[in-house]
Structures are given as structure tokens and as C-alpha cells.
Symmetry: C2
Subunit: 236 residues, 2 copies
């Protein structure tokens, strides 16, 4: 399809991504120096990113050894409202809400600036909850250790195929709201087959932030801190 | 927050929008000349846009007078796959699938090009199903008569407040998947109050593409072809 506006946009898009990648590399070096494992969580509005983090932070707090002086922190991006930040602050004392205005994704400079608001010496795990959007966040490296793509049952079993760039870029796929399976027409085999075609090696975990299903595997994945190839984040 | 990449982007974004608006105005004039009422449907991935259209097309076909020679057509945007187009083609013989690649929204030139693939003399109602994204599509005028924002119960009751630009720009808000209310924690009064704060005059219909709830009101709204102010589409 002839797309005249697209061709005019390429040069600037490249420059924006170049600036972003430079800052992302600085973020990555800083986080590595401090031994912080960081996760960029990408999913549609209502896929359950905040609910998953609430449940995760609660379990991490319960399991945390009293002598440990380091714990999790969260950066959370939204167009508007502080609602997610307020929800997460009930479970974690290091939460920074990032308001993007009309911005449809987080960029590395948002993460850099938000990191300055946290005492990173007390952090060993950094969650970055991206803006609710399955498309735009995928192309922007934030300096994270790993990208987690989250889909939910209520979105339908066709969403992996319809969002191939996220599936290809993800280091882990979570299929959330698995507790709603009895009430929906969702063919799990379709979803899993589509993921496999796009990304043969990515682990897929079925989880429910409501019932806790799959949380042992999710927390074990976080604990393993899988080494990922930063260059792969840019292969979009 | 200091956002250095943002400031460099403004001039080009303005130029892109200017080109888009010129084409959108041409689309609008062409659709008006042909007496076609057109609806841009914007919602998150999995909010039920395609299911809503399937059910709508089915009912429209049932109610259509045999002597009528004009009917609905659909343009449907996705990053990848022809799945939505194939689903809709079961109910409508004029469907064009638009593949945006990595593009996170439809632009006016997509609509112009796709319109060329349809015999518009046989069309009186044009549905444009935008790419599943609550953010980016809002800022791009396509030349449509009206913008419909679709939210679903499964996304949570906070999504109107978190996506104010869509709520402000919408000529109609649909709250879909109302049949799932018994299985979810969704406070309808929160959702409705947030919509009212942002857009005091927009009609809100609770619908279910599965049970048909609210469809009489939705079809009546389509039939009334409410006159809307095209300038309002750009007030984002």
C-alpha cells in the first residue's frame, strides 16, 4: 500500500531511536553495575499488568528474609492518573509513577529520570510497567534485562498472531486471567501454537493474579534472572 | 519531566498530521457526496471490536429490506494477519483488510486507498475498525462521520480515566462484554462517572456482542446518523 506519510517519517524515527538507544545503554550499564535485574512489562490495557505486580509484590514481601536490605522497586507508566502507582504503593515503598501525557510508550529517558527518584542501592529487582499498549512499547529499548509480554484470556486467542513483534521480542510470555477460562471461548492450543511459530524458544506461563495460579513458576523465573541478549531487544 | 526526544519530534509530527488532515478532508467530502455514514471504531486489543461488528452485520443483514440496493462495508486495520477480515467477510461482502505492519493506528491514506477497493455506490454505512490500541488512533482523523470508543468490562473500570483523549474525542462510548459482569469485579458507577467528567454529553451504551444486550440502542444510534462536528475529531 502506498503510504506517503510513512516515507517522510523514517529519518526522524531513526534519530529518535538512536537517542533512545544511547540512554538505554546507559541505563543498562547502571543497572548492571548495581546488580539490579530489571523487567519491562508490556501488555494491552486491562491485560492485568498492575494486578500481576500487586500480587507479585505481596508474595515477594511475604517471602523476603528479614535480614535482606534490598528489595523490589517499580516504575509505572500511564497517560494519565496516579491510580496504578497508588495501587502498587500499598505493596512496595519504592514506586514511581511516570505520566506520559499523550505518549503511547515509555522511552529510556523516562526510565533514567524515574530511576533518579529511587535509592537504587536498596533495590535488586526493578519492574517497569509500560503504558497499556501492545504495539508501540516494543520498539523502544529501556535498558531492561528482560522483556515480558503479557496477554490475557479476555483479549481472545488470536492476539499472539496479531502482535508478532511483541512475541518475537519477548523473553517471557505470560498468559494472564487463566482463572476465567470456564467463562470464555478461548482456545489455548491456538494461542500456544501462534507463540511457538513466532518465537520457538520463549517460555510461556499461564497465570492468574487473582488465584495465584502459575505464580511459583513466575517467581522462579524472576529468581533465575535469565541472562538475555540485549541486542535481541532491538530486533524489531 | 525532561523529554529531549519529544521536543525534536514536534515539527515533523505536525507535518504528518497536516498531510493526514488534508487526505481526511478529501475522504470526508467523498463520503458526504455519496451519502455514506462512516464510523471509526477505536478500542484496545480484545475489547471486542470485531465481535461487535460481526453481530452488527448479522442483524443488519436480517433487517435489510430486499429492495434496498445499498448496505454496509467494513475497512479493518491490523498489524498482521487477515483473521478479522475473514471473520467479517462471513457477514458482509464488502470487507477490506488493511495491514499496517508495525503501524499502531490507521491514517487517512489507508482509508482512502482501501475505499478504492469498494464499489461505494452500493454502500450507505462504512465501519472502520481501527488497529487495537486505545492511544495512537485517537489523534488521526480518517474523514469519518463519528468516532466510537469501545471499552470492555474485562479491561477494568479505570480505563476511561486512564484514556481521557479517546473519551473526550468520542461521539459514542460502548461498554462491551456487559454479560461478563457477574464474573468480574467491575464497578459500573466508577466507569460512568469517569466518562461523565471527561465528556458530559457523550452517550454511553452497555452492550454485549455475545448476548445482543444493548444492540437495539446501538443500531438506533447508527440509524439516526447523528450529525457530529468534524472539527471535534481534531481536538486532541
Amino acid at each position: 500500500m502506498n503510504d506517503s506519510t510513512h516515507t517522510t517519517r523514517i529519518p526522524l524515527a531513526e534519530r529518535v531511536l538512536e537517542v533512545n538507544d544511547t540512554i538505554a545503554a546507559q541505563n543498562r550499564a547502571e543497572l548492571a553495575r548495581l546488580g539490579i535485574f530489571s523487567v519491562d512489562i508490556i501488555g494491552a490495557p486491562g491485560s492485568g499488568k498492575t494486578a500481576l505486580l500487586e500480587a507479585t509484590l505481596r508474595v515477594l514481601a511475604e517471602r523476603r528474609h528479614p535480614a535482606t536490605h534490598r528489595g523490589p522497586a517499580v516504575l509505572v507508566g500511564d497517560l494519565a492518573t496516579r491510580r496504578d502507582g497508588d495501587r502498587l504503593a500499598r505493596w512496595c515503598d519504592k514506586v514511581v509513577q511516570i505520566s506520559t501525557g499523550q505518549g503511547c510508550h515509555l522511552e529510556a529517558n523516562h526510565v533514567r529520570d524515574a530511576m533518579r527518584g529511587i535509592d537504587l542501592a536498596t533495590v535488586d529487582l526493578l519492574f517497569i510497567e509500560n503504558v497499556g499498549n501492545l504495539i508501540c512499547p516494543v520498539g523502544f529499548d529501556l535498558g531492561q534485562s528482560a522483556k515480558v509480554g503479557i496477554f490475557s484470556l479476555t483479549e481472545g486467542d488470536d492476539k499472539a498472531a496479531k502482535h508478532p513483534y511483541l512475541v518475537e521480542a519477548a523473553d517471557l510470555i505470560l498468559l494472564n486471567k487463566i482463572d476465567l477460562l470456564p467463562y470464555l471461548t478461548f482456545d489455548r492450543s491456538v494461542f500456544h501454537a501462534d507463540v511457538r511459530l513466532l518465537n520457538p524458544s520463549v517460555p510461556v506461563l499461564e497465570v492468574s493474579a487473582t488465584t495465584g495460579q502459575g505464580f511459583d513458576e513466575w517467581l522462579a523465573w524472576l529468581e533465575r534472572r535469565p541472562a538475555v541478549d540485549p541486542a535481541a531487544d532491538l530486533a524489531v
